[in-house]
């Protein structure tokens, strides 16, 4: 299920705005699905609270606390806001992606619905990368953070709570090693 996948290796039918023709996506990563649980639970509460209120706490509707004229309007607004809450949280999760290509790493962040930030650095600028898996759930479900030190203006990239961090880290290191070998080879070739 692409709609709920946080770990896509060599994904097909996926592209990003500044992708070059000969550039291949190696990983497309999102936060682990488990990080969505808090807002999913809250959405569930939002959607079911009026029904549960009627079933458990009172014989009257939750919205009947208001004058009759406003109860229907309040109900409509409640579910409209609930729908927006779910849509916005899903959009932010879905489009906050970390992309590793054979040329660079890209971090696309959408804060809220109206703020977008895109950071990228070529693989040749990467100096060091480390990953951490810390906590009970990250250990059980295998997700964690990857920090990537670069020599560029933006000194550090951070892939937050991505699945299989060891595998991604390993792949990044392989790519860096290949690039350094190639550069070393071309430098010695120039001598």
């Amino acid at each position: 299920m692409v709609a709920f996948s946080a770990f896509l290796e060599s994904p097909k039918n996926v592209s990003f705005e500044s992708q070059e023709k000969d550039e291949a996506i190696i990983f497309l990563l999102r936060r682990h699905w488990l990080t969505n649980v808090p807002w999913i639970l809250f959405s569930f509460v939002l959607l079911t609270f009026p029904l549960l209120y009627r079933a458990i706490l009172s014989n009257d509707s939750f919205f009947s606390l208001l004058p009759a004229k406003y109860a229907l309007v309040a109900g409509l607004i409640w579910y409209l806001f609930s729908f927006l809450f779910i849509l916005e949280n899903y959009l932010i999760w879905y489009f906050n992606v970390y992309i590793l290509t054979d040329k660079r790493i890209i971090d696309m962040d959408f804060y809220g619905i109206i703020h977008k930030k895109v950071s990228e650095t070529p693989l040749r600028n990467i100096e060091d990368s480390t990953y951490t898996v810390s906590g009970i759930f990250p250990t059980i479900f295998d997700f964690g953070n990857i920090r990537i030190q670069t020599a560029a203006e933006s000194p550090e990239f951070s892939f937050e709570q991505v699945p299989h961090p060891a595998q991604v880290h390993d792949r990044i290191n392989d790519l860096i090693t290949d690039i350094h070998k190639t550069r070393g080879g071309s430098k010695s070739g120039n001598k």
């Binding site: 996926v14 004229k69 309007v73 899903y90 959009l91 489009f95 109206i114 895109v118």
Partner: protein, 89 residues
């Protein structure tokens, strides 16, 4: 227009021959309509943002569902706004 819980403004505005009584619900309705105008604008912004997000990272079929949901939300916001205006006023 309902006149429950009237606010008698003549206490603070000293014009003895003019009735300044307004309903708290009238204020609520006006604020609700203003809020809904802003909300409908925000719903349109969500639609635009989904298109911008999709341009940033295109993921095929899922994006079209997301656009549909964003449009559904926008249309629902307009319908609820129209309903609120017709039903309350």
């Amino acid at each position: 227009m309902e006149t429950n819980n009237p606010l008698d403004l003549s206490i603070i505005i000293p014009f003895p021959n003019v009735n300044f009584t307004i309903s708290i619900w009238l204020v609520t309705e006006v604020l609700l309509i203003i809020a809904f105008i802003i909300y409908t604008g925000f719903a349109a912004l969500v639609v635009k943002q989904v298109y911008i997000m999709d341009e940033a990272v295109s993921t095929g079929g899922v994006s079209s569902y997301l656009k549909t949901f964003a449009w559904m939300h926008f249309i629902a916001a307009i319908l609820v706004f129209v309903f609120v205006v017709l039903y309350l006023l």
